[in-house]
């Protein structure tokens, strides 16, 4: 197995990406559950209850993030098999990052689900979004030195900033690690990435709340 750099081979490089991918895919299920509730009528019971629409949207997001978390943790437990060593502090650091990624992507799913009423349509839209987001997020290859058009797509993809911090924590990314992402010449630190993905999640949640409120 060839080394990419810093003594990190391709499988070790992929590993954090696979965790991110797993979390991302299951967090999208938040939207599915909303569409499902609508289709089976249960959403009506929720909408006429004396609770705010905001708490419904936020509750769904956090619920899906909570469900997505164990799937990520299961992958994380496989770390020794691919030669990635984990410390307790690494694991404790990754769990909130997984939750953040799941909540941010989950709120995107919720936003879509407030407008897309049928299960079939939702699944089509979800896959159309999810696969490009996965492939262009640095899960499968280092985002350094990509062709210009691809570079742009990777940089505007929010998933990139959700997966990067997981990799930074697992591979112990230093400030000059070749896996760091640079935007407009600025190298994104761990906290820079966290802020971007958190902001994305916040905006999606606000849009989802607004979309939910403005219905009927």
């Amino acid at each position: 197995m060839g080394f990419l750099s810093d003594g990190v081979d391709f499988i070790q490089f992929m590993f954090p990406g696979i965790i991110g991918m797993t979390v991302l895919m299951s967090s999208f299920m938040a939207g599915v559950s909303l569409v499902w509730d609508r289709e089976f009528g249960f959403l009506k019971e929720v909408l006429v209850a004396p609770i705010s629409r905001t708490s419904v949207a936020v509750g769904k997001t956090f619920g899906s993030a909570t469900v997505a978390l164990p799937t990520g943790i299961i992958i994380l437990l496989l770390a020794p098999l691919v030669g990635v060593s984990l410390s307790v502090s690494t694991v404790l650091g990754i769990i909130p990052l997984m939750f953040l990624l799941a909540a941010a992507m989950g709120s995107l799913g919720i936003l879509l689900a407030t407008r897309i009423k049928s299960m079939q349509a939702f699944q089509v839209v979800m896959q159309m979004l999810m696969f490009p987001m996965l492939f262009l997020s640095g899960v499968f290859f280092p985002v350094d030195g990509l062709p210009g058009w691809m570079n742009v797509l990777v940089k505007i993809n929010p998933a990139t900033y959700g997966i990067a911090p997981i990799r930074q924590v697992i591979l112990g990314g230093s400030a000059d690690s070749p896996f760091n992402i640079s935007v407009f010449g600025h190298t994104m630190s761990l906290w820079d990435n966290i802020i971007v993905i958190a902001l994305f999640g916040l905006i999606m949640t606000l849009l989802a709340m607004w979309s939910f409120h403005s219905q009927e």
């Binding site: 509730d37 289709e39 089976f40 009528g41 249960f42 959403l43 009506k44 019971e45 929720v46 909408l47 006429v48 209850a49 004396p50 609770i51 705010s52 299960m119 009927e216």
Partner: protein, 328 residues
């Protein structure tokens, strides 16, 4: 000021060009069973949606238990219970879990929660099935569970949208027993929509809605008195000749009804019939006499039968429900 549970003033709701609800006004007194009657598409469900804050009215206003449905949504929601036309249960939870969820979102104090859930499940005779997943329940059991859930937070007003649609007669009767019992024991105001005439007759007062407008509102007895006379339907060998004869002999206008032959109204039909049969010269094949029902009231007011449309839609709803289940 009179203590009204529901006050509706010039309420209207448009969907684009369609005036689903077209400026209706009515009041429902506290503790009353109020029937909202009309064919499908008349605006019944839209009215309920507005009253329970799910839909915003285009104009006019509605006050439930003293709270405005637009400006005080949360207070309205806390004080009402709902049973929808279509199931709104979480099928993947058990009956008990559905009620627990409801108790939590409606702020039922945890000290009384378990006791109340048990009482409600006993009332609708589902306590034994409490730990079964709702997806295994029959249609009647689901509706009963929804009724129990709608009452769990002791709402002052209970909205029932076609509470017995698609259920067998036995279950319908059971559900009605609960509803009437509830009105008596808890003083709950009940607002229900239906297109079953026999059910509407159990209400204290009935409003008839057609094409978004209220066309009549009174208690069932007065409404039936509007039609007044008894209804005689006859089948003859020659209908046009029979119409002529009825007109010349009794000065009554008979009308031709495709299903029931000739129909005409007389005062005191029981005394009228023996003489009629003896002296009528056109050959009569069959005769029937009945008292006016709300069906006749509806027919008289709107010029249409309520039940024909109702049945068709009922079947459509059932087929729709089944195909939906097949997807999953």
């Amino acid at each position: 000021m009179h203590n009204y549970a529901i006050k509706v003033e010039n309420l209207a709701k448009d969907f684009g060009e369609l005036h689903a609800v077209d400026g209706i006004s009515f009041n429902v007194a506290s503790g009353e069973i109020f029937g909202f009657l009309g064919p499908n598409g008349a605006g019944k469900t839209t009215t309920i949606s507005v009253l329970c804050t799910l839909t915003k009215p285009t104009s006019g206003r509605a006050i439930i238990n003293g709270y405005d449905v637009v400006r005080q949504q949360s207070k309205v929601r806390q004080s009402i219970g709902l049973v929808f036309q279509d199931s709104s249960l979480d099928e993947r939870l058990t009956g008990l879990q559905n009620l627990r969820f409801h108790a939590m979102v409606y702020n039922v104090p945890s000290s009384v929660r378990d006791k109340r859930i048990e009482d409600m499940l006993n009332m609708v005779e589902l306590w034994d099935k409490r730990n079964s997943e709702v997806s295994t329940y029959s249609g009647g059991m689901k509706r009963r569970l929804e009724l129990a859930r709608g009452l769990l937070h002791h709402p002052k007003v209970l909205f029932l949208d076609e509470p017995t649609l698609g259920l067998d007669p036995q279950t319908r009767n059971r559900i009605w027993e609960y509803i009437i019992e509830l009105g008596k024991s808890e003083g709950t105001t009940i607002f229900l929509t239906t297109h079953y005439m026999d059910e509407a007759e159990k209400a204290d007062r009935i409003a008839i809605i057609d094409s978004g407008k209220l066309v009549a509102m009174d208690n069932p007895i007065n409404l039936k008195n509007m039609v007044g006379k008894d209804i005689i339907s006859i089948k003859t060998e020659d209908d046009s000749k029979a119409i002529e004869e009825i007109k010349s002999r009794y000065a009554i206008e008979a009308r031709n009804d495709t299903n029931n032959g000739l129909i005409f109204n007389v005062v005191n039909g029981e005394e009228f019939l023996p003489g009629f049969i003896k002296e009528f010269t056109t050959k009569i094949l069959s005769v029937s006499l009945r008292r006016p029902s709300l069906d006749d009231v509806f027919l008289k007011i709107t010029g249409r039968e309520i039940r024909e449309e109702g049945t068709k839609d009922g079947i459509r709803a059932m087929v729709h429900g089944r195909s939906r289940r097949m997807h999953h």
